[in-house]
C-alpha cells in the first residue's frame, strides 16, 4: 500500500467518524427537540386542564 492509499484511508475514516458523530448529534438533538415539544405540549395541556377545572361562569340562583 502506498502512502497515498494510507492517507485516503485516514481521510475516509475521519469523514466516517465525523458523519457518525454528526448523525448521533442530529439524533440526540432530534430526540431533545421532540422531547421539548412534548414538554411544551404537556405544559399547555396542564394549563388548559387547570383552566377547565377552575374557570366556570357565575353561579346564578335559579
Amino acid at each position: 500500500m502506498s502512502d497515498g492509499d494510507e492517507l485516503a484511508g485516514c481521510i475516509g475514516g475521519l469523514i466516517g467518524a465525523v458523519l457518525v458523530i454528526t448523525a448521533v448529534i442530529i439524533a440526540v438533538m432530534t430526540i431533545l427537540s421532540v422531547g421539548s415539544v412534548y414538554g411544551v405540549g404537556v405544559a399547555l395541556y396542564n394549563y388548559f386542564q387547570a383552566f377547565r377545572n377552575n374557570v366556570s361562569p357565575m353561579e346564578v340562583p335559579a
Binding site: 440526540v28 430526540i31 414538554g39 411544551v40 377545572n53 374557570v55 357565575m58 340562583p61
Partner: protein, 476 residues
C-alpha cells in the same frame, strides 16, 4: 370609600374571574411540577443499555426539563394573557358603567332630582330599593360592578340599575338608618320645593297651610293646567278632613308635632312630561320656643324659601291698639304668645349652628313675611293707615311691591323695626304680605271660612327661588 356588599351577583370580571385565575395558575403550576417529576422518574427508570433505551432516556430527560423550562414560560405567558383579557374586560365594563353612572348623575343633576324624605327630612342622592321578588334591600342600586344597566339580586331577580330603565318603579325607602320611611317615586324623581311655615304657637300656621293648599288645588292649578295629587293617602285624608272643618266654620286643630312630616303635593303638567313635588312643613309653634327643637328640622339645610307667619296680636303695639276689644275675643282669636323676633332668632340660630349658615351671611332663599289674621277688627285699615298710597298700582315696584311696602311700614309702625331690619339683613330677598287664612273671625257659627291672600306668598317664593316651578299660567 368602600361600600358594604350588596345582595346581588357581582359581575364575573369584578369578582369570580380573579378567583378563577388564581386557582388556574396554582393548579397549572402544580400539574407542571407533577408532569416534570413523572418524566424525570421515567428517565431514571431507563438507562443507556442500548440505543433505543438511550434514546428513551434522553427523550424523558428532555421532556422533563422542557416541562420545567418551557412549561414555566408557557404558564407565565398564558397567565399573562389570562390576566390581560380579564383586565381588558374589567376596564371596558368599568368604563361602561362609569359612563352610564355619569350620564345618570348629569341627567338627575340637570333635572334637580334627589331624594328628600318627608319624615326625617334627610336629603340623599338616591333611596334604597327593595327587590320586588325577595324584599332584599339594595343600598346602591346604580351602574356598578354588579351590573351596568341591570343587576341580578341574590334571589335571581333582575333589577334595573339606572334611572333610564325605570328603577323608580321599584319600592324604595329612606337611606337614613334611623328612619327607613317608605318613599314614593316622586320623592326622588321630581323637581322639589321645600317651604316651611315658620311662626310661634297659635299664629295660625295650620289654617294657613290648608288654606294655601286649597287655593292652589282649586284655583291656581286649573289656571296653569296642572294636575295636583297627594302622594300619601293620609295627607289627602287629613286635607279632606280639615277642609270639611273649614267649610263648617271650624278652624283646624292645633298641630302637636314639633318635627313635622312634610305635607307633600305632587304637581304634573297636563301633558304629563314633568312632575314637581311640593314639601310644605307645618311644625308645632312650640318648636320655635326652643332652638334645640329645630335641630331635627333638616329641611332648613335645603330650603326653597321660608314663609314667616306673624300673628299681629303677638306684637305688643297691636295688642295695645285693641286692648279694649281683645279680652272679649281672646279665646277665638288665640293670640300667639311668642314674640316674632324670638321666633326669627331661633330659626337663625339653628341655621347658623346646624345648617352651615355664617353668622353674618345672607341666606339666599327668599323669605315671605306674612301678617295673618287681618280679618280681625279693623286690622286691614291699620295696615293701610300711614301708607302714602295704599295699594298704589303706580308704585315703582308695581302693585305687589306696593302691597309689600304697606305691610312693611305697618310692622315698623308697630315697633317691629328691629325685626324688619334683622330679616332684611339676614335674608337676601324679603317680601311682605298680609292674609287671612280663615277670612273672618271664628264666631261659633257653621258658616264656611273663605281665605284671603294666602296663595301670594307661596307663588312669590316659588317664582323667586325656582322660576318655572309651577309652569306657565294659561289663564287669559
Amino acid at each position: 370609600m368602600s361600600s358594604p356588599p350588596e345582595p346581588a351577583v357581582k359581575s364575573y370580571f369584578f369578582d369570580k374571574g380573579y378567583k378563577d385565575l388564581w386557582q388556574t395558575i396554582k393548579e397549572s403550576w402544580s400539574l407542571n411540577l407533577a408532569s416534570s417529576e413523572e418524566h424525570f422518574q421515567r428517565a431514571s427508570r431507563t438507562g443507556f443499555e442500548d440505543v433505543a433505551e438511550g434514546a428513551q432516556t434522553i427523550f424523558w430527560w428532555s421532556a422533563g426539563i422542557s416541562v420545567v423550562v418551557f412549561g414555566t414560560a408557557v404558564f407565565a405567558i398564558t397567565s399573562l394573557l389570562h390576566v390581560a383579557l380579564l383586565g381588558l374586560v374589567f376596564l371596558l365594563i368599568y368604563i361602561a358603567f362609569s359612563l352610564v353612572l355619569l350620564t345618570e348623575w348629569c341627567y338627575m343633576g340637570i333635572r334637580s332630582f334627589f331624594t328628600a324624605c318627608p319624615a326625617c327630612h334627610e336629603k340623599s342622592r338616591l333611596p334604597e330599593y327593595f327587590c320586588p321578588s325577595c324584599g332584599e334591600v339594595h343600598r346602591r342600586l346604580i351602574p356598578s360592578s354588579y351590573g351596568i344597566l341591570r343587576r341580578r339580586c341574590q334571589c335571581g331577580e333582575k333589577l334595573p340599575a339606572t334611572f333610564f330603565l325605570d328603577r323608580g318603579g321599584l319600592t324604595s325607602r329612606c337611606p337614613n338608618p334611623d328612619c327607613h320611611e317608605i318613599l314614593d317615586r316622586s320623592h326622588t324623581e321630581s323637581r322639589k320645593a321645600f317651604v316651611p311655615i315658620v311662626g310661634g304657637p297659635a299664629v295660625g300656621k295650620s289654617a294657613y297651610l290648608f288654606a294655601t293648599v286649597r287655593r292652589l288645588l282649586e284655583r291656581e292649578a286649573p289656571r296653569r293646567s296642572l294636575e295636583c295629587s297627594f302622594i300619601e293617602s293620609t295627607t289627602e285624608a287629613q286635607f279632606d278632613r280639615i277642609v270639611g272643618q273649614l267649610d263648617h266654620g271650624r278652624p283646624p286643630d292645633k298641630t302637636t308635632e314639633k318635627v313635622p312630616r312634610a305635607f307633600n303635593l305632587e304637581l304634573r303638567n297636563g301633558r304629563g312630561n314633568w312632575a314637581r313635588l311640593l314639601y310644605l312643613y307645618d311644625p308645632a309653634g312650640e318648636a320655635y320656643v326652643d332652638a334645640e327643637d329645630l335641630v331635627l328640622h333638616k329641611y332648613q339645610g335645603h330650603l326653597t324659601g321660608l314663609i314667616f307667619l306673624i300673628d299681629p296680636f303677638s306684637i305688643p303695639e297691636v295688642r295695645r291698639l285693641y286692648d279694649d276689644q281683645l279680652a272679649a275675643v281672646e279665646t277665638t282669636l288665640k293670640p300667639s304668645s311668642l314674640l316674632i323676633e324670638d321666633a326669627l332668632d331661633r330659626v337663625l340660630i339653628t341655621m347658623e349652628s346646624h345648617f352651615g349658615v355664617g353668622k353674618t351671611a345672607r341666606i339666599k332663599s327668599p323669605a315671605a313675611v306674612v301678617v295673618s289674621k287681618t280679618d280681625a277688627f279693623d286690622l286691614e285699615d291699620q295696615l293701610e293707615a300711614g301708607s302714602a298710597a295704599p295699594s298704589d298700582p303706580t308704585h315703582s315696584g308695581g302693585p305687589d311691591e306696593a302691597a309689600s311696602d304697606r305691610v312693611r311700614r305697618a310692622l315698623i309702625r308697630w315697633d317691629q323695626a328691629d325685626f324688619v331690619q334683622q330679616i332684611e339683613t339676614r335674608f337676601k330677598t324679603v317680601r311682605y304680605f298680609a292674609c287671612s287664612s280663615l277670612g273672618r273671625m271664628p264666631d261659633g257659627t257653621d258658616r264656611a271660612f273663605e281665605a284671603q291672600g294666602v296663595l301670594g306668598p307661596l307663588l312669590w317664593l316659588l317664582d323667586t327661588s325656582q322660576p318655572g316651578f309651577l309652569g306657565k299660567s294659561t289663564a287669559a
